[in-house]
Symmetry: C2
Subunit: 358 residues, 2 copies
C-alpha cells in the first residue's frame, strides 16, 4: 500500500473496471487449467458487495427471479428486491452439513429464473461443499440453462482436511460469475476491494454480459486506486503462513465452540468446515420464555453481553449464528456464558413443565 | 494515508456511512454559521459519483422526474434513467455565462418533479454562479417545494476575483443534499472518496431521508477505510498553498486557452470562472465538412491528436469541451493545433462556398 502511495501513480482515475495490470494479477492468481482467466475476464469492484450488485444487475431483469440459499447472506435479497427481481429461497439441509436440497432447488426453477446464487464456503453456515455436490448443482443449472453467481469470497478459507473447490473448473457448459475480494482471506474488509471473475463457458454469456458489466461499473467508477496499485503484491507476496495461521485459528476456535455448545441441553450446533461462522439450532420447545431466535439472542446480549445474530436475519428462524473470529479466551468465555444462559432458561420439556405446574 | 495504514486501525469494516470521526472532520470543514453541520449530517460514499447515486435514489421514486442542467454532467441522466426516473433538461445560457434559464426551468416543473440538480461550479461549462443567481434558483425551488441536489464537487475551485457560494447557507427553507468529495480540489479522484452533506432546512426531509441514505449505503458498505482514516488530516493539514497553486494554474491555463481560441474564426469559446473546463461553440455553418461536434472532434483527434469531448456527450450539440489540466506548453500546443485544424476546414460561409463552387 505504501509503495502504491509513494509511486504517485495511483491518484488519478483508473478505468472503471480497474487497471489492467491489477486485473491481470487477479486473473493470474485465480486462473486454473480447466478454467483459464485473463485480465479481461476480471472486473474490479468496491468490495465483494459491489461485485454481487454488478453481477445481479447484469444477469437479471426486473420481473425475473433469482435462486438464493436459505439460510443465506442477506445482501442477495436486499439487492435483488431493490432491483425489482423476485427472490426464491432454496433450502439448505443442516443434517447434510448444509448441502443444497437439490430437489427443492429444481422445483423452484421456471422460465423467469435468471440466475442461481451459490455461496460456498457459506456465510452463515460455515459449510464447504464437496466436488460431487458442486457437480450436482452444476447439472441442475446446466439442465435448465441457468447461469451461476458463485459467491466465493470465503474461497480457500477451509479447515485442514477438507478441500475447497471453485465452481468454474468443474463446469464445462454453465457460465459462471465468481465473486470474491480481499475482505475475508486477506482480512482487510475495510479496503473495499472485490472482483468478478467471468467464466464464460462456450461464450454462453456473449459480449453483452461483459459490456453490461463495464457500463454498470461506470456508475461509481471502481474501487480505490491505491488498493488497486497494491493488489499485485498483496496477491503474490503474502506469505503462505499468513493464510495458514488464519485458517488454523478459525478451525481451533470453531472446534472449541462446537465442542462446548454440543453439550449444552437445548442447543444443536452444526459443525462447520470453513469460513468464520457456525450455526446453532435452538430447540425452542425447551425455551418457552422466548418467542423466537430474535428474542433468544436479544436476551442473551442483555443478560450475558454475548452478541450473536439471530438466523432470522438469514431467513432461517430458530437458529443463531456465531462468529468465530474473536480471541480464543473470549470464545471460551462466550461459550460458558451461553451455557449459563441456557441452563437458566432451559425447561426439560413443555409437557414436563406443565405437569410440574399443576 | 501512511499513518492510517500504520495505525492498523483502518482494516476492518467501518459503518457503511463512514467512521463518525471522519464524518465529523467533513462536517467541521464545511460547516457554516448559516448552515451548520454535524457528523450525523455527513454520509461518506465511494466518490462523488456514488454520493450522487445515493442522493438521487433517496430523493426520487421511479416514475417521478428530475431537473438536470443542459449542458450537464452525463452521470445524472445515466443514473436517473437506470432508476426509472424521467430526466427533464433545463437550459443553461452561454450568453449569460451559463446561468440557468429560470423561466425554462420553472416551466418544466410538475407534480412529479422530485428533485432539482444544480452543478456549481459546472462540468462542462466552468461557470460559477453569483450569490444572486443562486438565490433566484432557490426561490424557484422554494416556490414549488422541490429539494435540491447541489453537486458542488468543484466548490472553491474558482478563479481569483469571483467567489464560490455554496447553496445551503443561502437557503432558509429549501432542503439540500450537497455532494462533494476529494476528487477535484484534492486532485485524488482515484481514491474514491465522496460525501453527501445533509442540509435539512426546517426538517423538511424528516428522518426518512437520513434513514434511506443509511440503508442505501449498506448495499456496498462505504468507501475505503484507509482514505477515511486519512480524511481528517487531508482536510485539516493540506497547506493553503496547495489549493492556491491548483487554482492559479487552472486560471492561467484557461486564460491561455480562451485567449487563443477567441481569435480562431469559426469558434466561440465561453469564458470560464472556475472548475477545469471550458466550452467552445462551433459555428457549424463554417465547417461544412463536418456533420456534428462528434464529427468535428473525431477529425480533430485523427488529424491533430488533440482530444476534446464533443458536447453532445452533455446533451449540447455544436460545442466541444476542453480540459485545462494539461501542462502549459501542451495547452499552448493544443490551441495552435486547433487553430491549424480550423484554418484548414473553415469555409467563409456556405453562401460564399456555393458561389465559389459554381
Ligand atoms: C457471503 C458474503 N459475500 C459477500 C460479502 C461482502 O464482502 P465485501 O466486504 O467485500 O463487500 C460478505 C461479507 O460478509 C459475505 O459474507
Ligand atoms: C460535476 C461532477 N460531479 C461528480 C463527479 C464525480 O466525481 P467522483 O470522481 O468523486 O466520483 C465529476 C467527475 O468528473 C463531475 O465532473
Amino acid at each position: 500500500m505504501k509503495d502504491a502511495i509513494d509511486s504517485h501513480k495511483y491518484n488519478g482515475y483508473a478505468p472503471s473496471v480497474g487497471y489492467l495490470h491489477s486485473r491481470e494479477a487477479v486473473a493470474k492468481f485465480y486462473s486454473h487449467p480447466a478454467a483459464p482467466l485473463e485480465g479481461k475476464d476480471v472486473i474490479l469492484a468496491s468490495g465483494c458487495s459491489q461485485a454481487i450488485e454488478l453481477a445481479i444487475s447484469v444477469l437479471c431483469n426486473p420481473g425475473q427471479n433469482i435462486l438464493v440459499p436459505c439460510p443465506g447472506f442477506s445482501l442477495y435479497k436486499t439487492l435483488a428486491v431493490s432491483l425489482g427481481i423476485q427472490v426464491k429461497l432454496y433450502n439448505l439441509l443442516p443434517e447434510k452439513s448444509w448441502e443444497i436440497d437439490l430437489q427443492h432447488l429444481e422445483s423452484l426453477i421456471d422460465e423467469k429464473t435468471a440466475c442461481l446464487i451459490v455461496n460456498n464456503p457459506s456465510n452463515p453456515c460455515g459449510s464447504v461443499y464437496t466436488k460431487e455436490h458442486l457437480q450436482h448443482i452444476l447439472s441442475v443449472a446446466s439442465r435448465h440453462c441457468i447461469p451461476i453467481l458463485a459467491d466465493e469470497i470465503y474461497g480457500d478459507m477451509v479447515f485442514p482436511g477438507c478441500g475447497f473447490h471453485s465452481m468454474a473448473p468443474l463446469s464445462t457448459d454453465v457460465p459462471i460469475l465468481s465473486c470474491g475480494g480481499l475482505a475475508k482471506r486477506w482480512l482487510v474488509p475495510g479496503w473495499r476491494m472485490g472482483w468478478i471473475l467471468i467464466h464464460d463457458r462456450n461464450q454462453a454469456f456473449g459480449p453483452e454480459i461483459r459490456e453490461g458489466l463495464v457500463k454498470l461499473s461506470q456508475r461509481i467508477l471502481g474501487p480505490c486506486t491505491i488498493v488497486q496499485g497494491a493488489l499485485e503484491s498483496i496477491l503474490n507476496s503474502t506469505p503462505q503462513e499468513f493464510y495458514c495461521n488464519t485458517v488454523s485459528f478459525l478451525k481451533s476456535n470453531s472446534e472449541i465452540c462446537y465442542t462446548a455448545l454440543s453439550t449444552i441441553p437445548g442447543l444443536t450446533p452444526v459443525k462447520p468446515s470453513g469460513a468464520m461462522y457456525l450455526m446453532v439450532g435452538i430447540e425452542m420447545e425447551h425455551f418457552p420464555e422466548f418467542q423466537s431466535d430474535v428474542d433468544f439472542t436479544e436476551r442473551l446480549v442483555t443478560e450475558q453481553s454475548v452478541f450473536c445474530l439471530p438466523a432470522t436475519a438469514f431467513e432461517y428462524p430458530n437458529f443463531f449464528r456465531i462468529v468465530v473470529t474473536v480471541p480464543e479466551h473470549m470464545m471460551v468465555e462466550a461459550c460458558s456464558r451461553i451455557r449459563e444462559f441456557c441452563n437458566l432458561h432451559y425447561r426439560a420439556s413443555n409437557l414436563e413443565t406443565n405437569y410440574l405446574d399443576q
